[in-house]
């Protein structure tokens, strides 16, 4: 999420007053949507947690912090996310260096392929981990239920965030800075510590804060891999609500989580402003080179081998195991997806979930795109200096909060708010795509804003001086650039919705499961066939997601990537 503001040196536009009205108007739909479907449910949780029996009661926090079980959950959530973040950064820094400094065959393709684990549904990630380190899997090692399974899954899931965020910043650093340091007598490690690190530090902080938030609010992975002893806040909230019906306790936990998330976001925003160093950015083609010395070649090869292992193995194992039925290789597990006799909890054939998922994802994508586009226009304005206003920054921040808020909180909030008038949507199918849209919206905005910002106002001005009317300018400058970003955002929103698990788990109706829900249900039932079904369904979901991601990448605007 490191965004480098282009330094557009233009005078304020003549129409700035009209401009600001128009921006307020554009900001209204996303902000209203956020207020109704995010602030209200979350506010209701807040109220539920703090306000019981007609009085404000802050003592509930004390109860949570003194309860040994809850303290264990809090402690585990905290250290597990710190460990995941640290491990992920450590493992991914060499990968970032590889992309920043070397030219090799298949670089572009690998850059896109890295995204696959990140957009892969967490349920699928967890299932593929079970396939490798779940005992009886590829390695024969059984780490299921240990913290290692969770940490490995988190690294797999977040690797791309660090490599891509840090790598794209790193690639803009002039290699001559590092060469100057070497000529001035700095050995390689000091070149890194004293020149490279200070310049990539803010990108590392940006990536770390994302990884931390994802690990802190990790749900699907911990639910499936953590066993009974390892539970994050997110899993605890779900259990307290869905299993024990302790809504008040769940509300307090959700509140604690929300406070942490907001604190992290605020800290991150401050530190970004304070620490970022502006430097002359080079284009990647100027800074990359072929591996020349044996040492460099070794670095490139070992890095590529590591990536193949980290990213390829889980996906490979998933596919292999989906075909390895007890009766030999075949489509047995896939065929069983059409059976409706799978178990008592699902009275619909799992294959129906595919149609459900596609339907929900389509609706969610449309909602997220329309709102995201309004929001992005409101944030960017016409791209001039004065449009980087306080209003724009607040809108931007407000739209990012759902990214850090757990999906479980959103789902839980919906459950509390929308089961009574004025909005009784409890049994409505609309709640699911709306929840998905809330989760997807930050991604959409993050993709659209840089694309809109990348339009240099001087290009518009140039078009205008060449005789283009405002409408022509919009059509011939804005649309082609934003159109590509919009396609990419659509793909992202679709993928997010396909894989969404946390909120869906609360809102789903038994007869309309989505694919991740169907996978989770299959895992919950004993027997080889049910496990195989989970593998088969996960493979299908993975293929669907990969197709969407490949489509995104075709449309990705060149040189603009924040994820």
């Amino acid at each position: 999420m490191v965004s480098t503001l282009p330094l557009n040196q233009t005078s304020p536009p003549v129409s700035s007053r009209r401009n600001s009205w128009w921006r307020l108007l554009a900001a209204a739909p996303p902000l209203v949507f956020l207020a109704v479907f995010f602030a209200w449910p979350v506010g209701a949780i807040l109220l539920r947690g703090l306000h019981s029996g007609g009085t404000w009661n802050v003592g509930v926090f004390g109860d949570v912090f003194t309860d040994p079980t809850m303290r264990r959950v809090l402690w585990f959530t905290a250290w597990e996310s710190v460990a995941s973040t640290g491990l992920c950064v450590l493992v991914a820094i060499p990968g970032a260096a590889l992309f920043a400094r070397y030219r090799f065959r298949g670089k572009r393709l690998l850059w896109s392929a890295l995204l696959v684990p990140f957009v892969l549904p967490t349920v699928v990630v967890a299932v593929s981990m079970l396939g490798i380190i779940g005992g009886g899997g590829l390695t024969g090692i059984n780490l299921n239920g240990t913290v290692w399974a969770i940490l490995i899954a988190h690294v797999f899931f977040n690797y791309a965030v660090v490599v891509r965020t840090v790598g794209s910043t790193w690639s803009t650093i002039d290699p001559r800075l590092e060469e100057s340091a070497r000529a001035l007598g700095a050995p390689p490690w000091r070149v890194f510590a004293e020149v490279t690190w200070p310049l990539i530090r803010s990108a590392v902080a940006a990536a770390s804060s994302i990884v931390f938030l994802f690990s802190f609010t990790s749900f699907g992975i911990v639910l499936i891999l953590g066993g009974i002893s390892h539970r994050t806040l997110e899993v605890e909230i779900y259990d307290q609500t869905a299993k024990f019906l302790h809504l008040d306790l769940a509300a307090v936990l959700a509140l604690v989580q929300l406070v942490v998330v907001v604190l992290i976001l605020v800290w991150f925003g401050r530190s970004q402003r304070r620490r970022s160093v502006l430097f002359d950015q080079r284009s990647a083609s100027e800074t990359e080179h072929l591996a020349e010395t044996p040492r460099q070649r070794w670095f490139v090869r070992s890095n590529l081998a590591f990536m193949a292992l980290l990213l390829g193995t889980p996906l490979f194992v998933l596919v292999v195991r989906s075909f390895a039925t007890p009766d030999g290789w075949g489509f047995g597990f896939y065929r069983s997806l059409a059976d409706s006799r799978g178990g008592s909890t699902s009275f619909v054939p799992p294959i129906d979930a595919i149609g459900n998922s596609l339907l929900f994802a389509s609706i969610a994508t449309v909602i997220a795109l329309v709102l995201g586009l309004c929001a992005a226009w409101a944030i960017v304005g016409d791209g001039s200096v004065d449009s980087d206003s306080r209003f724009a920054r607040w809108t931007d921040t407000a739209l990012m909060i759902p990214l850090g808020t757990s999906a479980v909180t959103v789902g839980f909030g919906f459950l509390i708010v929308f089961d009574e008038p004025p909005l009784n949507l409890r049994s409505s199918l609309w709640l699911i795509p709306i929840a998905h849209a809330i989760v997807a919206l930050p991604f959409v905005v993050r993709l659209l804003v840089p694309a809109l910002r990348s339009i240099d106002p001087r290009v518009r001005e140039a078009a205008a001086t060449l005789g283009a009317s405002p409408r022509r300018v919009w059509w011939s400058v804005d649309v082609p650039i934003v159109g590509r970003a919009l396609a990419a955002a659509a793909g992202f929103a679709f993928a997010v919705s396909l894989g969404e698990f946390g909120a869906t788990a609360f809102l789903i109706r038994p007869d309309r499961p989505t694919m991740p829900i169907a996978i989770y249900r299959a895992l919950g039932r004993p027997g080889v066939y049910n496990f195989g079904q989970a593998m088969a369904m996960s493979t299908l979901l993975m293929v669907l997601t990969v197709v969407v991601i490949l489509l995104i990448d075709r449309f990705r605007p060149a040189g603009v990537s924040e994820f």
Binding site: E179, R182, A183, A186, P187
Partner: protein
């Protein structure tokens, strides 16, 4: 004849892993205190030549000997050469003082001596009092001077300059070139100066190596070059129509 200070013996260097050569069988010797200009059009291999001397580009054949020591495989940071780039490559996260002090810190010069030497270097380039300035606030000419101060502060045995005036405008260049010449003389530095500008080379260099397609085609004093250009290409580079 005195022993050469820097000598390149049949040095060849490839473009990366490919079979094409950036430098082909380059040999020359430089005495202590001499300023050698390397003149050539873009793509002639002149920057690669500097990078080879600095240890930033691998030599595929031949040796580089500095002060009697074979440096061919010595890593850059142990060579004690000062290198200055066209874009100056000032560290954007450090202020002027810390930029200039960087090499002194690497050489483990004690803190008290360090600040004296930084001040000296800044004084030499005419930037006394600029220590606390942010490098982003400097003008083009000031950046160039800071880069020079940073390069000479650790007292390198050899100064390598890669088009140091390349990013400056004509007026500034005309003022800075004589200053640089004066500074090099005063500190009695040995320097290799890469440029594509004939006037600069003539004003600064004791001798000039003309490079074309990775080969040294002539290496002589400016006046000799002027009088007897070896090939048409040399004559062209010197502006003889």
């Amino acid at each position: 004849m005195t022993t050469p200070f820097l000598s390149l013996n049949h040095v060849s260097a490839r473009h990366g892993k490919s079979e094409t050569y950036a430098l082909r069988d380059v040999s020359f010797e430089i005495s202590r205190g001499e300023v050698v200009g390397v003149l050539g059009s873009s793509g002639s291999g002149k920057t690669t030549l500097l990078r080879v001397i600095a240890g930033l580009h691998a030599v595929s054949e031949g040796t580089v000997v500095l002060n009697g020591e074979d440096l061919t495989t010595t890593p850059t940071h142990q060579r004690s050469v000062g290198l200055m780039f066209q874009e100056h490559a000032l560290f954007p996260h450090l202020n002027v003082f810390d930029n200039v002090a960087f090499g002194l810190r690497m050489a483990k010069i004690p803190k008290s001596d360090r600040s004296i030497r930084v001040d000296e270097a800044l004084e030499l380039v005419g930037l006394t009092g600029f220590g606390t300035r942010d490098v982003s606030s400097l003008s083009g000419g000031e950046r160039q001077r800071v880069a020079l101060a940073r390069t000479i502060a650790p007292s390198p045995s050899l100064l390598l300059l890669d088009e140091p005036m390349g990013s400056l405008d004509r007026v500034l260049r005309d003022r800075l070139v004589p200053e640089l010449r004066e500074l090099i003389n005063r500190l009695d530095l040995t320097a290799v100066y890469v440029t594509h500008d004939r006037a600069e080379a003539f004003e600064l260099a004791d001798r000039i190596a003309v490079l074309s397609e990775g080969k040294v085609i002539q290496f002589d004093t400016p006046s000799a070059l002027d009088a007897y250009p070896a090939t048409d290409h040399v004559a062209q580079l010197l502006g003889h129509g």
